[in-house]
């Protein structure tokens, strides 16, 4: 199982399986079978069994029984529709290095929001990729993870680390040469853009700077300094050109002075880092607390790159966990990050970083087990549980009495399964010390959760059916729109709605997203309209500042913002979906008939009053600042392709068409690209 280490709950790596469960594809050959609906017999045939009569855990063989299909007709009905492949999204053996969207994998259990992880493989130094698992935990999943950690108070020790630093030259900083040049250039641009006279003091400052640079050039002997001075003298020349009599180039036609960046040089340095004391012994994985951060990836020429260690600080707190063998987990718990004082868009998010090199995809998923998180590809039962959970959210039926009752029963079920397991395994507890007993109890609970899953699915089906107006659970599962399998989209997964909206729901309405004209090609090059958080993971931009966008504070940064419009929206460069039901048939969006800064949760300083996930209400949005936030992003070249793309010019249209053709894209949303790109 590869979880390594010596912590008792690492054994949860979903190991407790009495029944071997090789999939057709062999992807879970060594995995457990905590779902008990489906088993594969020695002849590789799928067998279904009632969960109440099968114990998939290491119970005494003489007490283990199985019951062949048919005990639960609802299960059987769904099985017939599910074919024989048990694993929804097998873990790829090799990840495509540099792929900016990564690979979305459905992972089992109820620990992960959307039941999925994204596996990224960044181009790394020396040709060695850096592979990372990204996911978001449910609140229950967070509790389980925290239980696997030692409190983040392990002593720290100082270590010296050789690194490379980049910075400005002392001669520049001492004389504030760049500051002087930027000040002058900014003033010239400001006055030229407003067609006002350039002040005399700006002209004087420019002349003084020119003189100072000339004097420094005459006296300096260092090559780096000379290079810096030449760079700034070129900037001075650009400024002097704009202030000369008769200069007539328009501001937007090349008259604007280009950015003059500070001249920087790169050199080696030794820095001191504080790391957890590797010799310290605690009850759980060694953990250190630090300022929250993100991977500092960079996207260049369509490829994502990361050096494996650079990070950008954000607001809030995260836990860094040493998983051993070069693997590290980084988690941002809600318990350390109150809404309103940290990035809600990062709450509950988990990274697992592999050591340098390729081929870690399976191990990355396995390592979730060290954190008490279910760590195997999702099977059909687990998919249905996630599907029901997402539909409860999407249909806003969390408080419906039938759902509340079903959830309460589900909790009771886990207790019952735990009790049953205790009867079976109680003798194993004899002679255990306190620590071992705690681990034994924790293992029992985890196994009970897994054991109870298919029963929980059955109960939740009934609750959801009742809340949505179906007469029976059978009626729900027989609905053609009941599709308990996730849809791969970009590097993530989404789930569809049962009873989705239809064309008539959105008659005369469309979804729009305005794009700055110069960046339409860039968006299509990435293949996705991605959320801020996804953009950061892709490396589109690394904002080095601590102050972050309001969207990150509100949690809206985990989604992309669309607006409900009439017709095709107002003019300009934009993406338009004439059929909003295609996007809003997903379960992972919410909206407001006004600007709430994408507030996902309460307590961020932005009201969540009026938040809706109801398609009919969204269709009625009329405010010009309405917002619909779709999680993760939209796959512009796949299922989420826009119906129309309005370009700003014929030249841009030709460029986008050429770009898509070169990428082998002939159709978008089922139509030829020359009909979509206008």
């Amino acid at each position: 199982m590869g979880s390594g280490g010596s912590k008792s709950h690492q054994a949860f790596a979903i190991a407790p399986a009495a029944v071997a469960t090789p999939s057709k594809a062999g992807n879970v050959a060594d995995g457990p079978a905590p779902d008990v609906d489906y088993f594969v017999d020695d002849d590789d045939n799928i067998i279904t069994a009632t969960p109440s009569t099968v114990h998939p855990y290491p119970v005494d063989e003489d007490t283990s029984t199985s019951s062949v299909a048919g005990a639960d007709p609802q299960v059987a009905a769904v099985v017939a529709d599910w074919d024989s492949d048990r694993v929804l999204t097998p873990i790829p053996d090799e990840l495509v290095a540099g792929a900016p969207l990564g690979a979305g994998i459905a992972v089992g259990g109820a620990d992960l929001e959307d039941g999925s992880v994204t596996l990224m493989s960044y181009n790394g130094p020396n040709g060695e990729p850096r592979e990372v698992l990204l996911c978001k935990l449910t609140p229950d999943g967070e509790d389980k993870l925290l239980d696997a950690l030692t409190p983040p108070d392990a002593p720290l020790v100082a270590v010296d680390v050789e690194t490379t630093v980049t910075g400005r030259l002392p001669l520049d900083e001492t004389n504030k040469l760049h500051e002087q040049l930027a000040r002058v250039a900014k003033s010239i641009n400001h006055h030229n853009s407003n067609n006002t006279d350039i002040p005399e003091h700006t002209i004087e400052r420019l002349a003084e700077l020119h003189k100072q640079l000339d004097e420094l050039k005459a006296t300096t002997t260092a090559a780096d300094d000379a290079q810096m001075i030449d760079t700034y003298l070129a900037g001075v020349a650009a400024c002097e050109e704009r202030t000369a009599a008769g200069y007539s180039v328009g501001y937007a036609e090349g008259g604007k002075i280009d950015m003059i960046h500070p001249h920087e040089h790169t050199g080696p340095a030794t820095i001191t880092k504080m790391v957890p004391d590797p010799t310290w012994q605690g009850d759980g994985l060694v953990t250190s607390k630090r300022t929250a951060s993100r991977i500092a990836a960079k996207l260049s020429n369509g490829e994502a790159t990361w050096d494996g260690h650079s990070r950008n600080d954000t607001s809030g707190t995260e836990l860094a966990v040493d998983l051993g063998d070069g693997y590290q987990a980084i988690y941002r718990p809600s318990t350390l990050n109150a809404a309103g004082s940290s990035n809600a868009s990062q709450h509950h998010t988990l990274e697992i970083v592999a050591p340098a090199g390729a081929g870690n995809s399976h191990e990355l998923v396995e390592r979730l087990g060290q954190l008490n998180i279910v760590n195997r590809p999702m099977n059909r039962t687990e998919a249905e549980y996630s599907y029901l959970a997402r539909n409860i959210y999407a249909h806003e039926i969390e408080q419906h009495p039938a759902v509340v009752a079903a959830r309460a029963s589900a909790v009771g079920l886990e207790d019952a399964h735990e009790h049953q397991l205790l009867i079976e395994r109680g003798h194993q507890a004899a002679g255990l010390d306190d620590t071992q007993l705690a681990s034994f109890a924790r293992q029992l609970r985890l196994d009970a959760e897994a054991s109870a899953l298919s029963d929980k699915v059955r109960i939740m089906r009934g609750g959801v059916a009742s809340a949505l107006g179906y007469k029976t659970a059978d009626a729900l599962t027989s609905d053609p729109t009941y599709k308990p399998t996730p849809n791969p989209t970009g590097g993530w997964l989404n789930w569809s709605r049962v009873k989705p909206p239809t064309t008539s729901t959105f008659k005369g309405r469309s979804l729009t997203h305005r794009v700055t004209s110069g960046n339409l090609e860039e968006i299509f090059a990435s293949g996705a309209l991605a959320s801020t958080e996804r953009r950061r993971a892709m490396g589109i931009f690394s904002n080095k500042g601590m102050s972050e966008a309001a969207d990150q504070r509100t949690g809206g940064a985990r989604g992309v913002f669309l607006r409900m419009s009439s017709g095709t929206g107002t003019g300009g460069c934009r993406l338009v979906w004439d059929d909003p039901e295609r996007i809003l048939s997903r379960t992972d969006w919410y909206g407001y008939n006004g600007d709430h800064f994408g507030a996902a949760v309460a307590g961020t300083g932005h009201s969540i009053k009026g938040q809706t996930r109801n398609p009919t209400k969204a269709a009625g949005f009329t405010a010009s600042n309405n917002e619909i936030i779709v999680a993760n992003g939209l796959d512009l070249l796949g299922a989420d392709a826009p119906s129309r793309v309005y370009c700003s010019s014929k030249t841009q249209r030709a460029a986008v068409l050429q770009q898509l053709t070169a990428a082998g894209v002939t159709h978008l949303a089922g139509r030829p690209i020359d009909k979509v790109i206008t």
Partner: protein
């Protein structure tokens, strides 16, 4: 064409450079919860645009020297209940949330300086124009 409301003129004055580009002033936006407790604030970019049912402004995200314009997205403040007085423009939503635009304090001026430098020196003129228009949702 109808005259601009007084509060809009006051907002635009707050957003402007001031009298000297080398010694700028500017505005910030403060957010309050329903109990009137201050939640957080953001520095505002230089422009505002009045729409039929909101006024569009742009929040500056980050500290510079570069900014991700995708994150400095436009935002639409409600205009159904706007009051202007004593150097402040106060926006209140139907459910009672209050947002106040006021002169930025010295601590935030460095952000504003970096933003101005970024817009005036780093961005192409077309992007600078687009920032002022306040119509695009993403970059």
């Amino acid at each position: 064409m109808s005259a601009q409301p007084d509060w809009l003129q006051q907002l635009q004055q707050l957003l402007a450079f001031g009298v000297d580009i080398d010694d700028p002033v500017g505005a910030r936006l403060d957010f309050y919860d329903l109990d009137g407790h201050h939640q957080h604030h953001a520095v505002l970019a230089r422009h505002a645009r009045l729409d039929v049912d909101c006024v569009w402004i742009r929040l500056i995200a980050g500290t510079g020297p570069s900014f991700d314009l995708h994150e400095c997205r436009r935002r639409g403040l409600p205009i159904s209940n706007v009051t202007a007085a004593a150097g402040q423009v106060r926006f209140e939503t139907a459910d009672g949330h209050v947002t106040v635009a006021a002169a930025t304090d010295p601590d935030d001026l460095e952000i504003l300086r970096a933003w101005d430098e970024f817009v005036l020196l780093e961005l192409p003129a077309s992007d600078e124009h687009a920032i002022a228009q306040l119509v695009d949702d993403s970059w």
